[in-house]
Symmetry: C2
Subunit: 223 residues, 2 copies
DNA sequence: CGGGGCCTTGACGGATGTCAATCGCGGTGG
DNA sequence: CCACCGCGATTGACATCCGTCAAGGCCCCG
């Protein structure tokens, strides 16, 4: 069985840890971090583990907006109250950054403001590319691009490495706008194409990254 | 025939018109403003008219990312080069804001930085809600929420007002991730439900805003 | 009058959702 | 020890929504 790399801690993004490192919160899997409607008075930087950000609709439909990995910031797009729920997917540690402190710090160090803008930019780009994924791609293309993205963010781009997939099929489905069954069917299809394999639950091995990318980018004639 | 309100000019968003009002560009319908890959050295604030922002894929598929109305800023999420194309949907005037000037100004007036962050926030929220629209909603729900959003942004929330819809069915389809035919069918369905009517091409009247909202928010049992 | 957009409407097929059965695995308790 | 249960994943059968293809209408304009 392959060694699955842990989801590691990262250096503080803001550089100004001494000023902003107000508090680290430790979360067990499933522990809530943010409820929709809470006052949006903190940003959270994921230090370790994986955190999921999602919206739940009156009828139980759920849209996962993002899986946040170490180094990611949650709450940049929130002004008054949070517009989403957020909880831990795995054991996780997050750094809580009070917005008031942050704004004061930005006043003293304008370059931090530029950095925040840049991160907001990236978030806009991510959200827009998610839109494209969701509306222009077929089910297998979505699954393939999801796995590609996962591997890239964890820098597991070499073939044959075991990639931990801490989310359930339901999480993936709610992220990709599909059902559990469709996700499962298409993972099976990728397996039968010998692009990936599933050595154990919660892990996958990407055997043919190029082909996976081709499928994810709609460049392969898969039906 | 109802009088359709023009899409009006707005006061400069930045307040600092004397500093930033570097140039107004006038565009006829269909005139290009930004090509994907151009150096992202300007922001554009729409002053009058409607501008569309979109991506075109290798296979001709097009995703409209946003319709920008007066007061909207284009290019906030762009760091190096633009990642989208952009052109005028109607006659339009835009204020070109050189980024270099803007950064200098922000250094002198940090509150502008906060304002930019807030606009970026709004853009993130918009992109995320577009994701949800695209992946969680049925065709009629998408069309209804599109029309609701249009009415809200133009502040035509009273029933019976005539709302100008300057975009074609193809534009709406490429924004909502649908086909022309599906958009048309569902507009017809909303008409037969007596929620809207089409007094003339390029205009709609919303008769039952509450019901339209219910449908757009997935709160109505429509098949 | 004819042509070309743009829109609407109909018929049909296919991808994906829904419903249901089954499997494997881990935990629990008799 | 093993039967039982619950949860997640897989697989199959069927239904349905939406895309595709095609025809036709409306309107403007030459």
């Amino acid at each position: 069985m392959g060694q699955i790399l842990p989801i590691q801690a990262s250096a503080p993004v803001w550089g100004a840890a001494s000023v902003l490192d107000m508090g680290i919160r430790t979360l067990r899997a499933q522990d809530p971090l943010i409820f929709e409607g809470d006052d949006a008075d903190h940003l959270y930087e994921v230090v370790e583990g994986v955190v999921r950000v999602y919206k739940v609709f009156y009828d139980g439909r759920r849209q996962i907006i993002s899986f946040a990995f170490p180094g990611d910031i949650i709450g940049l797009g929130q002004t008054d109250t949070y517009s989403f729920d957020c909880d831990a997917l795995t054991f996780a540690r997050v750094r809580a950054i009070p917005k008031a402190d942050l704004l004061r710090t930005v006043r003293e160090r304008p370059e931090l403001g530029a950095q925040m803008l840049e991160m907001a930019s990236r978030e806009i780009t991510a959200a827009q590319s998610l839109s494209i994924t969701l509306c222009r791609k077929s089910a297998i293309e979505r699954v393939a691009s999801f796995l590609c993205g996962l591997a890239e963010r964890r820098r597991h781009t070499a073939a044959g490495q075991t990639l931990s997939v801490p989310m359930t099929r339901a999480d993936i489905a709610d992220y990709l706008g599909l059902t559990i069954e469709t996700v499962s069917r298409n993972i099976t299809k990728l397996k039968s194409l010998q692009v990936i394999s599933l050595p154990e639950p919660g892990a996958i091995v990407i055997h043919d990254m190029k082909q996976l990318k081709r499928i994810g980018d709609c460049e392969a004639g898969i039906q």
